[in-house]
């Protein structure tokens, strides 16, 4: 105790030396943890949500589709500076409304946005193929008539 009393930091009295030492340990743990967290958050989030298979803008689009439950939404980038907020006035998001609302979107699995996007593209391709098949069975539509310039009214 005599030795540790000699090593007391300025401002630390003997009565609080033990507490200050524990606080110091806590501070070092927090500092190192914040640095590691800060450094790893961006790359690990990017990998979880599908980068580099998906570009950042594609990830942004998938988030928007999930958030507003609308597959037709795309992430506009760059977003016009003075435009209204991207979600303003939307009517498609799904929630159980009440005093404590509950969203109905589902948890995104590891790299789940890639599968989500692939599935949508496959659905769209299948729908397009089916549409093309139906068209092939129908008689060919009449060729579009050239658009004539409006005629002046004839009296």
């Amino acid at each position: 105790m005599k030795d540790s009393a000699k090593e007391l930091q300025p401002g630390t009295t003997a009565a609080f030396a033990g507490m200050h030492q524990w606080l110091q340990r806590g501070l070092i743990v927090c500092l190192v943890a914040l640095v590691l967290e800060g450094a790893l958050t961006f790359p690990l989030l990017a990998i979880w949500y599908g980068w580099p298979t998906l570009s950042l803008q594609q990830i942004c689009s998938e988030f928007e589709k999930i958030r507003f439950n609308d597959e037709s939404r795309e992430c506009k980038y760059p977003y016009p500076l003075f435009a209204p907020a991207e979600g303003a006035g939307q009517t498609t998001a799904q929630d159980t409304w009440g005093i404590q609302p509950r969203p109905l979107y589902q948890r995104v699995e590891f790299r789940g946005l890639i599968h989500r996007r692939d599935a949508r593209l496959a659905r769209l391709a299948a729908a397009a193929a089916a549409g093309a098949g139906e068209r092939a069975e129908q008689p060919a539509p009449a060729p579009a008539r050239p658009v004539a310039a409006p005629q002046p009214p004839q009296n």
Partner: protein, 231 residues
Amino acid sequence: MTTNTMAAGAGAYDTHQQRSRAAQWRADKWMMVGVFFMGTAVLGLIGLPFFLRGLSLQMRAQKAGFTVRPIMVTLIGYLVAVDSALNSLGWALDLIGNHTLLARVFLMAWGNMFDGGYFWHYNELWIGGASAPGEKAWVVALLPLMFSMRIAAAIAFLQMKRWGQQWLVVTCWFGVIAWAGYVTNMTIFADVRYAGVVFPVVGWWLYDIFYITPFLAIPYLHTVNREIFSD
């Protein structure tokens, strides 16, 4: 003879003070560079070795008998600065940069993983950003007020100024209010915050627990001998 001794004593004192200040400044330069990078989040790993080098320089100077800042003051001052910088980064993105690609990818991803408040109906309010009940009020109260004041206090605290210590007490207690209010708000609107989230509740706590800086600083701030801080 007496005069000479006093003159020699005063000279030695001045030299000691001068060399102490030089040693502290040398250590601070390393730590400031470190904290600059650590406050950016992504470049944190670049900053950490700089910071640790500065810290070891300061400890060495202390062992050599120089009058340098207590290690606790150094750690609290710089940790408060890093904590405030990281919080400010995220909340400035939400408050001002909410339509940037950075926010709409990384803030959304973070929200989707830990806190639905940063995903649910995001960018739907006229002001943009988080729409979760009460969240925007916390962002406005904490970012331009508490965290800005706390960074200013941390700088003065590192300079061993009395007002730095006092304002760190004030802003760290503000931090306790913030934690209590924020966590209660999240708990009451838990469905918004945690439904459909990848790592709900426990994930959020594991991620955010390291921001408890005020709880570590307050016991020190109230038990340190205040005479070491100058007016």
